[in-house]
């Protein structure tokens, strides 16, 4: 099996059928994918009742050859709408066998799923020739090392006696066909699909859709605001942080948004909390959020104290209530730093109460300490 199949032409065969191999009766559409001048294969896209695309699949028949001897493998592969491998199953009556014709055991099938789902598998770096190259067994094993196909590494990443089968199917599942699926899916882009993607918990879908509902400045296409909020408050730190960082500061300006952001902050993991605090330095904070931030200034650790302080420092004005709150910490800044609090308060227009606290601080910390 060559790694670099070139998929040249994509022909749409608007053939309607029922999705195979999964029992339910979804409508499908077939696409003919040209691999090279002489061969093509059929890729199927399944739709749900509302005519929304749901997944791709392919009924595969492939020979797996090892030193001249070939055996047929029948298997169905399934992908999500962006061509990420999801699962496999078999046409009725088909199984996989090992080199000595023994059938796969249940554990082997579980392991196979793990192997196919691993996009960074050692197979990605290998050609079939690497597996059968004479001397493979003599390669020094890693010192540190993943010296390509070290026999040991291969052992943990493949099913013994079925290396070629694993290799062949892995490349079918993770090969260039992915790009073709992405292209086909792009043709189905609609608001509904974007909503569905953003709310999906599939991070591939979410990144793909975010690229399409947010412009360079981070402005969000009308109607998708709550989708973005869903991602920011979701439990994937990485998509949450990405959405938060990418969204234009303007997105967080309304009072309701700020309260929402604060409640998100309180539920968030530590790294996301820090990302939110960093974002706040770009956002014009209303008095409600400012006061809450001020109230929590010394509640956490020094790192978050600094981030909160930076957000407060970036504001044009601080509400008096927040200033008073901050002045209250001058005496005991907890994990924070009184001098930094003092400098912050000096920057804004303090009321009398705050002025008094500042004076008190000044007497306790003579000029040369300030």
């Amino acid at each position: 099996m060559k790694r670099n199949i070139i998929i040249v032409v994509l022909m749409v065969l608007a053939v309607c059928a029922r999705a195979a191999g999964n029992g339910d009766s979804l409508r499908t559409r077939s696409y003919t994918v040209r691999v090279n001048d002489t061969s093509t294969f059929t890729l199927k896209l399944a739709f749900d009742k509302n005519e929304t695309p749901v997944y791709y699949y392919r009924n595969i028949f492939t020979p797996v050859c090892l030193t001249g001897e070939c055996k047929p493998v029948y298997i169905n592969l399934y992908w999500d709408l962006l061509g990420n491998y999801v699962r496999y199953d078999f046409p009725p009556g088909e199984i996989l066998t090992k080199a000595d014709h023994r059938p796969f055991k249940p554990d082997d099938y579980t392991k196979l799923q793990g192997i196919l789902a691993n996009t960074s598998s050692i197979f990605s770096e290998l050609q079939m020739a690497d597996l059968i190259a004479p001397g493979t067994e003599n390669l020094a094993d890693s010192a540190d090392g993943k010296t390509g196909a070290t026999p040991k590494k291969l052992k943990t990443e493949v099913i013994e006696g079925a290396v070629y089968t694993c290799f062949t199917i892995w490349h079918l599942a993770n090969g260039p066909v992915k790009k073709e699926m992405e292209k086909i899916t792009a043709g189905y882009k609609s608001n509904a699909l974007l909503h569905q993607f953003l709310q999906s918990n599939n991070h591939h879908y979410q990144y793909w859709a975010m690229e399409r509902v947010m412009d360079k400045e981070g402005n969000i296409t009308k109607g998708h605001e709550s989708d973005i909020k869903y991602i920011i408050s979701g439990n994937n730190l990485f998509t949450a942080r990405y959405a938060l960082q990418k969204a234009a500061p303007r997105f967080f300006v309304a009072d309701t948004m700020q309260l929402w952001l604060w409640s998100t902050y309180q539920q968030a993991t530590y790294p996301l909390q820090n990302a939110i605090l960093k974002k706040l330095a770009e956002v014009k904070m209303g008095s409600e959020l400012t006061t809450r931030l001020a109230a929590n200034l010394t509640a956490s650790n020094n790192e978050q104290f600094k981030l909160m302080l930076a957000a407060l420092n970036a504001q044009r004005q601080l509400p008096p209530q927040a200033m008073r709150q901050i002045a209250g910490y001058l005496e005991d800044p907890g994990p924070g730093d009184a001098a930094a609090l003092y400098a912050l308060l000096k920057k804004f227009k303090p009321d009398n109460e705050v002025k008094n606290k500042l004076k008190q601080y000044e007497t306790q910390h003579p000029q040369n300490e300030l």
Partner: protein
């Protein structure tokens, strides 16, 4: 000042009576307890890796998420009455608050403060409140609450309610030394032909090689086991070939050390043969083995080391070892550094070394430090707590592995191997526990029945200082296969320079913990003897990862069988040096043929 008798030799709790000169200030009683000297360590472990920073070892509750057994000791008080208790600790993972919580029990009463969750990762003294001491001997114990690496350096009792123990490192070190009576002269550790510091594969082989030629040797190692990275504390397997040797005689001792290949991070500690290594050394009548002894000071005159001072990592007893020759096999190049040997840290630039693989600009980038770990399948389902203080993972990014391999690696210029050894280890722990917690709680199908069997708490270091010798091995030496007349140890490993794995960098920029490498294959080549002694400290040898190479060449020389053979050569060279009463350099200049003769025969 008066030194008070301690209850047991091993308990360094010392009553310190400070008589101020100023009239009217009453004498104060301090009782200083080093946790590493506790009589019963329970499930706590001794960590000495931060000695270059905090000048002390400490106890740590390394329970992999299960609280460990209490550590306990008996402390003597000369005077009854009220004492304020101070506890020196830190919050090792203040994100925002770490998990290393523990409490202190004095005479059966648990003090109310919970330590280790202050949100501050600096080592500090924390007020433990007041206790009323009504007995001469009082039981003191530390009680771990989480099993997640809470740590405690020392405990101070003072009857002066206003006394605040010193905060700065220097002041505290002085205070500690006084209270532990370390200002007194160290015990005599003996006089040797060769003093080998560092009992990794390199140091152990050096000691054995010299001793078998009749030299009197001290082998000083700061852990309870030998083998360094190949010990069960770190679990790295031996690499580098010994069957392609230019001089087949080398590698014999390495072969004895070799306990078979269990891979990296094998969950079975026995596979690494700690006991066997110690037996082999103990069978050598010319070797005096000093385990648990950390060398931190040297004495010298005229660019010649006269003695090294080591401190026991548990009792804090100090020893002074004198010798004719010293061999720096610490990996960190500590002996050379202390003696003022020329050394290098980080990468050289291309323009400096002319190496194609060198960095554009010189910098302090080093290969990283690893804490390997392994889980094992069990019969029953087990749980693992959430770890909000650790690195965070999700379905999108996590490491889907039941055990580690070499790639679990932190450093790469983000942290200093020597001075941030604690942060490096802690970052590794945050990666391991965060990822494991993710797998256990979100991938139950695969991991519900797996349990952590082992997580290293001693960091496995790859690269630290490199002591400069009369020759600095380069990429060209390696790739051109230059055979110098003093070329002795044959090396076969690839030039194997790690960098943060791309995907890991994308998710954890600046906090990478997973590495990649490119192996650049080499034909077997030899390392010159001149890389094995210091160019300016006249009686200092080196063997192991801290020999005289460029960063690029180190990429190939550092594997352990190769390091072991360097040790073998150092042993031979010390023998010839002694025979002709000359320096390591003198051996090269005047007796090279004799040295090569031993190696060849």
């Amino acid at each position: 000042m008066k030194r008070c008798k301690t209850l047991s030799m091993r308990v360094i709790s010392c009553l310190f009576l400070l008589l101020f000169n100023i009239a009217g200030v009453k004498a104060q009683q301090h009782v200083f307890v080093e946790t590493e000297s506790f009589e019963d360590k329970g499930g706590w472990v001794i960590d000495q890796q931060s000695f270059p920073v905090i000048h002390s070892s400490y106890l740590m509750a390394h329970g992999m998420g299960r609280p460990v057994k209490d550590a306990a000791t008996t402390v003597s008080f000369a005077k009854k009455g009220k004492y304020r208790v101070w506890v020196r600790t830190k919050d090792w993972a203040p994100f925002p608050k770490g998990p290393g919580r523990f409490q202190l029990t004095v005479d059966g009463k648990t003090l109310s403060p919970v330590f280790g969750e202050s949100g501050n990762d600096a080592w500090k003294w924390y007020d433990g409140g007041e206790v009323d001491i009504q007995k001469e001997q009082v039981k003191l114990s530390i009680h771990d609450l989480t099993g997640f690496n809470g740590r405690c350096d020392a405990i101070l009792f003072t009857d002066n309610a206003k006394f605040i123990p010193p905060a700065s490192n220097e002041a505290l070190t002085a205070f500690r030394s006084k209270l532990l009576n370390l200002t007194a002269a160290p015990k005599d550790g003996g006089n040797y032909d060769l003093v080998v510091v560092g009992g990794g594969i390199a140091g152990t082989c050096a000691a054995i090689s010299a001793s078998r030629l009749g030299l009197k040797v001290a082998l000083i190692q700061d852990r309870p086991v030998l083998g360094g990275n190949n010990s069960s504390e770190i679990r790295v397997h031996l690499m580098g070939d010994i069957d392609k040797n230019h001089y087949p005689k080398l590698g014999r001792i390495v072969r004895e050390m070799d306990n078979g290949d269990p891979g990296n991070g094998n969950p079975d500690a026995k596979e690494y043969g700690d006991a066997r290594k110690i037996q082999i050394v103990k069978a050598e009548k010319n070797i005096s083995l000093f385990l648990n002894t950390h060398v931190y000071k040297i004495e010298k005159g005229n660019n010649k080391i006269t003695a090294v001072i080591g401190r026991n990592i548990a009792t804090n007893q100090e020893y002074r070892f004198t010798g004719t020759y010293f061999s720096d096999c610490t990996g960190d190049g500590t002996v050379g550094y202390l003696a003022g040997a020329d050394y290098r840290f980080g990468r050289e630039s291309k323009s400096e070394t002319k190496e194609s693989l060198a960095a554009e600009k010189a910098d302090s980038f080093t290969l990283g430090t690893s804490n390997l770990w392994a889980s094992v399948p069990t019969d029953t389902v087990s749980s693992f707590p959430a770890t909000p203080w650790a690195l965070q993972f999700s379905d999108e990014y996590h490491i889907d592995e039941a055990k580690s391999d070499w790639e679990w690696e932190t450093g790469f210029g983000n942290f200093n191997t020597i001075y941030q050894a604690e942060q490096l280890r802690d970052h590794n722990l945050r990666a391991i526990y965060g990822n494991w917690s993710y797998l256990k709680n979100n991938k139950k199908d695969k991991y519900a029945k797996n349990a952590l069997a082992w997580v290293a708490y001693i960091g496995g270091k790859r690269e630290s200082r490199r002591i400069i010798g009369d020759h600095v091995l380069t990429q060209m030496d390696i790739q051109d296969g230059v055979q110098y007349p003093d070329g002795c140890v044959t090396a076969t490993w690839t030039i194997d320079l790690h960098f943060p794995q791309e995907k890991n960098s994308q998710y954890f920029q600046g906090q990478e913990f997973f590495a990649s490498t490119k192996h650049i294959r080499v034909a077997p080549y030899t390392i010159p003897y001149r890389c094995l002694y210091s160019r300016n400290i006249t009686n200092l040898f080196m063997a192991g990862r801290n020999i005289s190479t460029t960063h690029v060449a180190f990429g190939s020389t550092r594997v352990m069988r190769t390091c072991g053979m360097m040790g073998e050569v150092v042993g031979y060279a010390a023998f010839i040096g002694k025979k002709h009463n000359t320096s390591p350099k003198g051996v090269y200049e005047k007796h090279l043929s004799e040295l090569m003769g031993i190696i060849k025969d």
